[in-house]
Amino acid sequence: MADLQSQDYIRRSASNLTPPSVRHHELEVAKLIDVSRCIGCKACQSACMEWNNLRPDMEEFQGAYENPHDLNPGTWTLMRFAEYEDEQGNLEWLIRKDGCMHCEDPGCLKACPAPGAIVQYANGIVDFISENCIGCGYCVKGCPFNIPRISAEDHKSYKCTLCSDRVGVGLEPACVKTCPTGAIMFGSKDDMKDWAGERIAELKERGFQNAGLYDPPEVGGTHVMYVLHHADKPSLYSGLPDKPHISALVGAWKGFLKPVALAGLAFAAIGAFVHSIVSGPNETTEADEAHARAEMEKAKRDGSAKS
């Protein structure tokens, strides 16, 4: 969709100027995914496809519950299934709805070179504005969660929009609407944190001592949060990063190198110009030509003397 909410950006990719941000009196939203309530029915996946008119290609069976086997340009959310044997030897089936986490400090947006191709609204949603996307794949490198996928057909990057079109008109995201167990909830970020707190207390009572909220501070918090029974080991849940952060390589490239490189190039160009002003051109003189002629004539004389 086009950027209908262009007056309430708080971040805009590859833009040095302050984005239009007059509509800032807006609550930060969040989606809360309570992993402990999820039954793995994939209704959220279907609802996502239905609302967003996505129909990814049918794949070969890969021997796992994941279907398709990974996120792709037409699959913006995916149930991931992990089998975990706890200390007591009990099997736990850890099911996690994967998708964009809508980071408060989005690595995709930081890495993006195309102005306005990635934006963040005042409500916290990180959205891809596809008409501005150039298909370079930098967002893939910037993302700490390995979420964006580039389409081979149109060379645009795709991911969950948190149903920004629905949220913009006061509706909850499609996955939230459809979830049959109430495992996915949506509201203001504060409310979702409160709700999560209650749920975590319940889980602790039931013996999940390490139950907790996944709202990683390394990316400034996220607008998609998880309630995990094992919040001390997020990676148990199909590789959810324990400490997600924007790669230091991306930080060096987009933070340090940009101004230093520009300064270096400007310095070189100015240096050359100043040299030209101070020293002037290096021109061949008539004396050089005379010397050269003399040497050539001498060689000719020597040559004819020999023959």
Partner: protein
């Protein structure tokens, strides 16, 4: 190609075409690369039609440049081997910069500055090629791990900045030393130019009676 009478062939027609294919690719790569590197240059993407077109064409320009530069490398590497004259020349860099070339030790076909440009590019271009392949999303986006691509992207940017700095020096030297541009555009220099800037090369040509490094039948060295 015929050259004016009494001049010396510095660069053959094939060399010059080869050079300018490389040069045009380099400039276009710089423009598109800067556009993808820093937002203040993103407007340069319009020169390529759009951001999408720029993203699509940049790697192909790179491949063309690599092939083209290989041609230059084959032609130039031997004359760019470092020797004692170059060390002596480099030690007199202050006089070179001050245009007091009469006091600078004579050098062969290329001076130390040109050799640094040559070997700098010969080193950086393969780095740009390999890292560029790794981040070529369309064909190699899934070939390597994302972490590998992050490393490649950072090295690609650093190497590109290095190449641009060398390029600034290369272009300025061509503007600064009068007659150099003509040597690469039209191929010939005056005997005085060769005597002034590349005396040992000049003397070698005089001794052999050759009209230039790549003898051209129509070229006239002696009258």
């Amino acid at each position: 190609m015929s050259y004016p009478k009494g001049t010396i062939v510095r660069n053959s027609t094939a060399t010059r075409l080869n050079h300018w294919i490389t040069g045009i690719c380099f400039v276009l790569l710089t423009l598109s690369g800067l556009a993808m590197f820093h937002p203040v240059f993103f407007w340069l993407s319009n020169l390529f039609g759009s951001g999408q077109w720029m993203r699509a064409v940049h790697p192909w320009l790179g491949v063309t440049l690599v092939v083209s530069f290989l041609g230059l490398f084959v032609q130039f590497w031997r004359d760019n081997l470092w020797n004692r004259d170059d060390t002596a020349w480099a030690k007199s860099l202050d006089k070179v910069l001050d245009n007091r070339e009469e006091e600078v030790p004579p050098v062969g076909r290329f001076n130390a500055g040109q050799k640094v440009v040559f070997w700098g590019m010969a080193l950086i271009i393969p780095v740009l090629f390999v890292t560029g392949i790794l981040i070529w999303e369309v064909y190699f986006g899934h070939a390597t791990a994302i972490e590998t691509q992050r490393v490649a992207l950072l090295i690609h940017s650093l190497a590109a900045i290095g190449a641009m700095l060398i390029w600034v020096a290369h272009v300025y030297a061509a503007i600064w030393v009068k007659g150099s541009m003509r040597a690469m555009l039209h191929g010939w220099v005056t005997p005085g130019w060769a005597f002034r800037h590349h005396r040992k090369w000049f003397q070698g040509l005089v001794a052999s009676g050759s009209p230039g490094p790549t003898p051209d039948s129509t070229a006239k060295f002696r009258d």
